[in-house]
C-alpha cells in the first residue's frame, strides 16, 4: 500500500486519528496503525502529523498526455427551452477570474436549436468565444448526442478546464464525457481557484453533507472538469459592448443519434420559484401540523419572491410534493436566506441546507438542533410569528 507509518518518528500523539475522516487509524502500543480496509488514501493524516511520520506515496501513473497542449476555460451553456440557465452566468463570471490568473480565454459552448441570439448574451456576460452547435435534434438535452458532440469539440480545441452547473442535466452529461475522455471530474464544487505554479485548477467541494471539505486536483489528465453549485459565484454585469467570436460547428449526422428520446416534458413544480435557483427559501416542517397550514409558508414565500421548501417529515406526511424536499434524500440548497419554520433540524435536513448564507429558525422548542446552525432564531408559535412576518415584509417591500 502506498501509505505507511514511519515507526521511529511516530510518537503516538493521536493527532492523525482526529484528522482521519474514515476512522481508519488506531493507536496500538503507542504507535499509529492504519486499517487499510478503511483507509481511502485521502492524505488528511499526512498533513496533520507534526512529526512527518506518515508517508503517502502517490503512485505515478503511466498515463501521459501532453497537458501543455490544452488551453482555455470552457463553460457549458446549459439551456432549457432555449433559455440559458442562471448558473451559466455565474460560471462565466468565475471563469473570467480564473482565466485572468491563467492568462487565457473563456469560451462558452452552446448546444440547441435556434439559439444564436443567446450566443451573443454569453459574450455580454464574459465569454470571449462561443462554440455554437445548432440542430433540431439538439433542442432538448439528450445524454448521448450532447456527450458525443462535446467530446469531439474538446478533442478538437483542447480546453484545459471545463465547467458545468451541478444541475440534473450537468451531472449526467459531464460524468459521461469525463469517462470517455479519461478526464478528471469533481462534483458539486463550491470553491475554484488556480495553483499558478503548477497551473492546476483547485476544486473545493463539500463531502459528508458539508461536514468536511476537500480540495481536489487533476494533475495528469485533461480537461480538468468540474460541476459547480448554484449561487456560489457571482455573474459579471451584462455589458452589451463586449465583443467576441461565435464559432459555428456542424455535427455529423451520425453522432446525433440517440437511444433515448423525450416523449413529453411535464412541468409540475407548484411554486413559482425553482428551489436550487432561489435566493430565498421558506421551508416548513412537522411543526406546521397539517397540509393546509402550508398556506402561511406560501404566503411568506410569495411576499419575499422565495421558493417553498419542506422537510422530509412534511413530504412523507403528504403535505408537500417530493420536488420541494430539502435534505439528504431531497435537494441540497444554499440560498442567501433560508427560513426553517417548524423544522427541528435533524442531521439529514441540515446537510441539505447548512451552506445557506443566513439561516432563520422559527420553532417552539428552544432545544431544537436547528437553532445551533441558525444565524437568527425565534422561539415561539409559528402560527403567530409567520403571518406577522409576512405582514411586516409586505409593508416594507410594498408587495
Amino acid at each position: 500500500m502506498p501509505i505507511k507509518i514511519i515507526i521511529e518518528k511516530c510518537t503516538g500523539c493521536s493527532l492523525c486519528i482526529k484528522a482521519c475522516p474514515f476512522d481508519a487509524i488506531r493507536i496500538l502500543d503507542k504507535k499509529a496503525v492504519i486499517d487499510l480496509n478503511k483507509c481511502n488514501l485521502c492524505g488528511a493524516c499526512v498533513s496533520s502529523c507534526k512529526f512527518k511520520a506518515i508517508l503517502l506515496e502517490k503512485p505515478v501513473t503511466d498515463y501521459q498526455i501532453p497537458i501543455t497542449d490544452y488551453h482555455g476555460i470552457w463553460v457549458f451553456a446549459e439551456q432549457k427551452k432555449s433559455m440559458i440557465q442562471p448558473v451559466v452566468w455565474e460560471l462565466l463570471g468565475k471563469a473570467r477570474q480564473l482565466a485572468e490568473k491563467l492568462n487565457t480565454e473563456v469560451s462558452a459552448v452552446l448546444l440547441g436549436y435556434k439559439v444564436k441570439e443567446k450566443a451573443k448574451e454569453l459574450i455580454f456576460y464574459g465569454a470571449d468565444k462561443v462554440y455554437l452547435v445548432e440542430d433540431e435534434r439538439l433542442a432538448n438535452f439528450l445524454d448521448e448526442p450532447y456527450t458525443e458532440i462535446l467530446i469531439r469539440l474538446i478533442r478538437k480545441y483542447k480546453p484545459e478546464i471545463f465547467l458545468c452547473g451541478a444541475t440534473s442535466i450537468g451531472r449526467a452529461l459531464v460524468s459521461r464525457i469525463a469517462v470517455k475522455l479519461y478526464a478528471g471530474l469533481t462534483a458539486d464544487c463550491t470553491g475554484l481557484d488556480i495553483d499558478l505554479e503548477k497551473r492546476l485548477l483547485l476544486q473545493t467541494r463539500p463531502a459528508f453533507g458539508g461536514n468536511i471539505m476537500a480540495t481536489i486536483v487533476t494533475p495528469f489528465h485533461r480537461p480538468q472538469m468540474a460541476t459547480v453549485r448554484h449561487k456560489v459565484f457571482m455573474p459579471l454585469e451584462k455589458e452589451t459592448t463586449r465583443t467576441g467570436q461565435i464559432i459555428e460547428e456542424k455535427p455529423e449526422s451520425a453522432i446525433l443519434v440517440s437511444r433515448t428520446s423525450i416523449l413529453e416534458i411535464v412541468e409540475e413544480v407548484s411554486s413559482m420559484v425553482n428551489l436550487s435557483e432561489a435566493d430565498i427559501i421558506v421551508s416548513g416542517g412537522r411543526g406546521l401540523g397539517a397540509k393546509e397550514n402550508f398556506k402561511i409558508i406560501e404566503d411568506l414565500a410569495k411576499v419575499l419572491n422565495a421558493a417553498v421548501g419542506a422537510s422530509r417529515a412534511a413530504v412523507d406526511a403528504g403535505w408537500m410534493p417530493y420536488s420541494h424536499q430539502v435534505g439528504q434524500t431531497g435537494k441540497t440548497v444554499a440560498p442567501k436566506i433560508y427560513f426553517a419554520c417548524g423544522i427541528s433540524g435533524q442531521i439529514q435536513h441540515l446537510v441539505g441546507m447548512q451552506s445557506s448564507k443566513i439561516i432563520v429558525a422559527i420553532n417552539k422548542d428552544p432545544e431544537a438542533p436547528i437553532f445551533k446552525v441558525a444565524n437568527y432564531g425565534i422561539v415561539g408559535d409559528l402560527f403567530e410569528i409567520i403571518p406577522a412576518l409576512t405582514k411586516r415584509f409586505k409593508e416594507i417591500l410594498q408587495r
Binding site: 461536514n211 417530493y322 436566506i337 437568527y376 432564531g377 408559535d381
Partner: protein, 260 residues
C-alpha cells in the same frame, strides 16, 4: 429480465456526530448501511423481477466488510451477490470506481438493466452511475422516478427534472439511476434473512477481473484529494426573545438589508 444493481456501503449519517472542539467527524462506532438511494434501486429490481421474472444480482466495490450490505440486499430478495474487493482499489475516484464496476458487469455478461441510486450519501457525486453506462457504452436515464413500461427491448420512464419530469423512451440494455419517489423499499422477511445468512457471496479481485493496474485505485484515478479540512463554523446565532410583535420587528430589521 436480468437486472444488476450497484450499491455502496456508507456510514449512517444520522449517527455521524461532530466533535465540537475540533469540528471533525466522529466516526468511531458509526454503523455502516446501504446508501439510502441504493435501497430504491434494490427494491425496484425486486419488483421488476416479481413482475417479469428473470434474475437479479447485486454488486458492490468496497472493503471486505461491505459484504454485510450485500447480505442485506439478499435478505430483501435479490438473488445473487458479488463483492468486488481488492486493496489495490483503495483511493479510487469516480472514474476508477465506474471502470472497475463496469468491468465486473462485463464479466457477469448477461443483463438487460442496471440500476443505481441517484448518488451516494457520503460522496454525493452522482457520477458513478453515468460513468458505468459510459464505460459500457449503453444508454442512461438519470433521476428515474417511475418506470411506466418495460420489456426486453425498451422502456418508458419518468426522469425527474428541476421543473417536473420528462417522459423518456429508451432502448435496452440500459442504466437507470433512481430517486426516492420511485418506490418504498420493503423490510427483509424472516425467510429472506435466513437465506441471506447462508448465501454464498462471490468475491472478485482486480486479478479476477483482469484489470490494468494503471486504471484502478489511486493510480488509475485522474483526480487527487490534496487537502481535507473542516468548513468554518457558523457564527453563533442570535435568538430573539419577547412578544411576537417585538421579535418579528427585530428579525425584519436584521434581514432588511439582505432582502431589499
Amino acid at each position: 429480465m436480468n437486472i444488476i444493481v450497484c450499491i455502496k456501503q456508507v456510514p449512517e449519517t444520522t449517527e455521524v456526530k461532530i466533535n465540537p472542539e475540533t469540528n471533525t467527524l466522529i466516526r468511531e462506532g458509526v454503523k455502516s448501511i446501504i446508501n439510502p438511494f441504493d435501497m430504491y434501486a434494490i427494491e425496484e429490481a425486486i419488483r421488476l423481477k416479481e413482475k417479469y421474472g428473470g434474475n437479479t444480482i447485486v454488486i458492490t466495490m468496497g472493503p471486505p466488510q461491505a459484504e454485510e450490505a450485500l447480505r442485506e440486499a439478499l435478505a430483501m430478495g435479490i438473488d445473487e451477490a458479488i463483492l468486488i474487493t481488492d486493496r489495490s482499489f483503495a483511493g479510487s475516484d469516480t472514474w476508477a470506481t465506474s471502470f472497475t464496476l463496469s468491468n465486473a458487469i462485463k464479466k457477469i455478461g448477461d443483463f438487460d438493466l442496471i440500476l443505481c441510486g441517484k448518488q451516494a450519501s457520503d460522496g454525493d457525486t452522482a457520477q458513478v452511475g453515468p460513468g458505468i453506462s459510459a464505460h459500457l457504452d449503453i444508454p442512461q436515464v438519470t433521476y428515474v422516478k417511475k418506470i411506466r413500461e418495460i420489456n426486453k427491448n425498451s422502456a418508458c420512464v419518468e426522469r425527474m427534472t428541476e421543473e417536473g419530469f420528462e417522459l423518456i423512451s429508451v432502448s435496452l440494455p440500459c442504466l437507470f439511476t433512481v430517486v426516492k419517489e420511485i418506490n418504498e423499499p420493503r423490510l427483509p422477511s424472516l425467510r429472506g434473512l435466513m437465506r441471506a445468512k447462508q448465501a454464498k457471496i462471490l468475491r472478485w479481485s482486480a486479478k479476477d477481473l483482469g484489470l490494468d493496474e494503471n486504471k484502478i485505485g489511486l493510480k488509475g484515478s485522474p483526480t487527487q484529494v490534496i487537502k481535507i479540512f473542516t468548513p468554518p463554523q457558523r457564527p453563533k446565532g442570535t435568538i430573539f426573545h419577547g412578544e411576537t410583535k417585538e421579535v418579528v420587528e427585530k428579525l425584519v430589521e436584521a434581514l432588511k438589508k439582505e432582502i431589499t
